[in-house]
Symmetry: D2
Subunit: 295 residues, 4 copies
């Protein structure tokens, strides 16, 4: 793929698993093809709404194999690496690179709080273990703590740490990061209430689960932002926000999976003890998808 330049909409791919724990490769491949044909600029398997925290290594590897094969080099694939130990994360990163991914989304899972020196070590070791670009992942909602500016300042010195996915939604934090990293590190935001502001601030796109459900609308939003048609873009973002607003009342992975079922992708339920959407919630998802033309 030559020198990469990641940007645009990267859907967090859901992970369809059957009751025996096998990856449903046919439906995953079909979803990948659908998203690429809808114009997304990249694909991210094993992100948060890909339920990375609920999969074992054999499932994770199989997901990446299926995605790479279905994508067939059409768009960049940035796969999630997530572990509590540095050794395990390094192992995963190496194997995924060997499989052929174009980038690594590096996620630190924690149980005990980890001091800054440990956090720096974790991400640095992952980066050193591979030659592809690394996207740092930071999500204060589901992780303990956040990547501090001091940590980012150290990590930006590692050559292949080139991107940051910031799920904080804190524009002050984003401005501080941008004032710190300049063009050295590029910023992906999270989902549909913030991407336009992040693009205006200087971001280059977003990684998010809902883009699985509204790929063409997401790409349209991205293109409007890129063309600096900010007011027109904001009208679209206000409309798309209604979807995420519904999702905030429920489990995000359950919502995306329910929505994809409605769209004809039998991806199944989130892995137990996660709980699938109840009928009423499913109806709400249906209504809001219809309202934005995604059903």
């Amino acid at each position: 793929m030559g020198e990469v330049n990641f940007h645009g909409v990267f859907p967090y791919l859901v992970t369809p698993v059957d009751t025996q724990g096998n990856i449903k490769s046919e439906v995953l491949a079909r979803l990948v093809d659908h998203l690429v044909r809808s114009g997304v600029q990249g694909l991210t398997p094993l992100g948060s709404t890909g339920e990375f925290a609920y999969l074992n290594w054999f499932q994770k590897r199989r997901v990446v194999e299926v995605v790479l094969e279905a994508n067939a080099g059409r768009v960049p694939v940035i796969a999630g690496v997530a572990a509590t130990t540095t050794a395990e994360a390094v192992r995963q990163a190496r194997e995924l690179e060997a499989l052929g991914v174009n980038g690594i989304l590096a996620i630190l899972e924690t149980y005990f709080p980890i001091p800054e020196s440990g956090v720096i070590n974790y991400f640095t070791e992952i980066a050193r273990a591979v030659s592809c670009p690394i996207v740092l992942y930071t999500n204060p909602n589901f992780q303990r703590g956040d990547l501090t500016l001091r940590v980012i300042e150290q990590l930006m010195k590692v050559p292949n740490i080139r991107y940051l996915k910031d799920a904080s939604g804190d524009t002050g934090r984003l401005l501080s990061i941008l004032n710190l990293v300049g063009d050295r590190i590029r910023i992906f935001s999270s989902s549909t209430h913030i991407p336009l502001c992040v693009m205006l601030i200087g971001g280059i796109g977003w990684m998010a689960g809902p883009a699985c459900l509204i790929p063409s609308q997401s790409v349209r939003l991205y293109e409007l932002a890129r063309a600096k048609k900010w007011e027109e873009a904001m009208i679209l973002q206000r409309e798309l926000w209604r979807i995420n607003q519904v999702f905030t009342s429920y489990s995000l992975a359950a919502c995306i999976k329910a929505g994809l079922e409605l769209q004809g992708f039998p991806v199944g339920d989130p892995l137990p003890p996660q709980v699938p959407l109840k009928e009423e919630a499913r109806e709400e998802v249906r209504r809001v998808l219809e309202a934005v033309g995604a059903l």
Copy 2:
């Protein structure tokens, strides 16, 4: 002042108090005059950085008298009302309206958690007690809880509740509010990391302490946003954010007061047991004000 239409930059005026507890009216009047001449669209005494939580009623009333007299009708004055009881808030609102303020910034102080019905009652009673427009104030950082969408949905039915100052910085929340209230309620944001995004989303200005220190830069940012020169505006906002970024390390009221001292307004220190800035912090404030041309 006829039918009001609040918009633009409303600095939260600091409250200069001498060691006997008297309001230093001369310096406050001079600051008011300076801000109005710098182009701000309004003034807000008794906001958070006005240390409303540290003043007794006699001090509060005197602040408003001095501001109204120094302003002499040039721009709208929206004064803060803050109490734990409905009765006290209603009393304050009536007295401030009688003094001549153009609007009330209504703040709920809490000790025990207050259920939604109590919150609705509090703001409704304040609004009914006066005829001027009410700005609802919501700040999850210093208050317990936030105004929920359900509460806002009820309060928007009260005729003179016309504005909301949202200090959450949560653009998802803002989109949800805007999708709920349409043009019925207008949104003011808080300080310099978020106002441009809020303007793009549909906000009408901001109320903030730092605008005391950078009034002309703030007005310039507002005008760029109003003229839809979003990229040019963002360059300015990124620059101005450096000021707020410094302030986040310290007490905001102490920073604004220290900065004004540097600008030649002897407003003194925040009220004890608040602690004034130490020398090193004062130097940092000086440097960042110089960097944006505010010294």
Copy 3:
């Protein structure tokens, strides 16, 4: 009253206020008499369930006058002082001592975070302003932050700071404090799930709202603990805990006031925008009071 030696059960007295804002002195006096006759070792007006945060100074002063007169020197009266500014707290403390209270429960109200040096200053100034003993109050539930060990270490040097009311319920924290202060400062705990453990650790009693409703049972628990009949005491505490367990579902001040109404003390509702108990909750309070023989 000579050299004081505070210990035992100090009910936080509720504050009965009529719709005009006047203190209902007759019912408050009757409650005081009832509690003293029930054997409580002291009285604490203007504590948290006394709604100190919802009263103005005239109301606060009147409460203390009524309590002192009704008590007529039978038990020690420790009155709450609470303010955001040092100056106001000092003023309150002086006036309350002049009225004749035997001790001051010193409470720091906050809006902005206050650094340790400010916290130390606040409590030290209150202590210096009076000659009676000071009880430091610390409640992480309703205040921002807590008195740190470093702050307590400084404050224990002030001669008349002699007691600490710790509402944290954190026995590790209490052990750390006791290991720090030895016999220099005596510890009061809060309500009925923790007092026996705190007594075993080395505490000397408790200050709590529920003791208004179950004064004789509380005194019995205290006496069992003092007599080191720990197992017998624990049986009683497990029984009394059922009351507090009910209260945790609702507003504490509303529960205590509702319970007192059921016991024949027309103390009214908590001050708006606080919300009185609904009928169902009132029934639950009735049932649990009947179950412990308090109705």
Copy 4:
């Protein structure tokens, strides 16, 4: 081992791992023997300070094999099962029972919030998969949320769910649980600031990492409590608390491992990116261990 009746001190065994990721079986076996000879009533491998969150399945299984062999049936072994998915937890529980453990400490790891029905399902499926007794584990410090009373009320109906390890340190919560479960479920507490209170309330012992370092002192505390010598026990607990107080400033797993190294057990450092204690902290651990006679 016949009908089990777990009670007393169960140290959370640390997990010694070499740089290749192998379990250091010799030192682990020696530690097990030392603890059993010191009188502990049971052993818990794969608890929180056993770094369960940092081990893969092969490491976990090896830990249990080594512990079972070194223990040789002298005391009950309750091993930790921890997973994000029900399927993986069930698999682990079955394998551990087949290895010969006497009980399972069941831990729910979470990423997305799990509703109560999912939590109930998770623990019920684990219990059904084995015939040995289950200890429910709940730790609000490192997990999201806590086992609610409603969840416990459902789970107490499952025949082999017989114990609860509650790490909350909230005596009110413990009283509520005890009032709910009666003798149906027995309570283990966590470490050295709370066990005496929990024993007085009705608990039957504790599971904790520090007991690795002070086994005989812990057993002495337990025996004093069992003999109802509460005041004598409290003197010992106040002394032992000094150890935990030191540990709260650092990572617990790092402290226990550092202390064991000082005692002659070369267990190594916590797994990266966890960070070992710095020299100064190590000295502090040394001093406090010396002070309680554990060095």
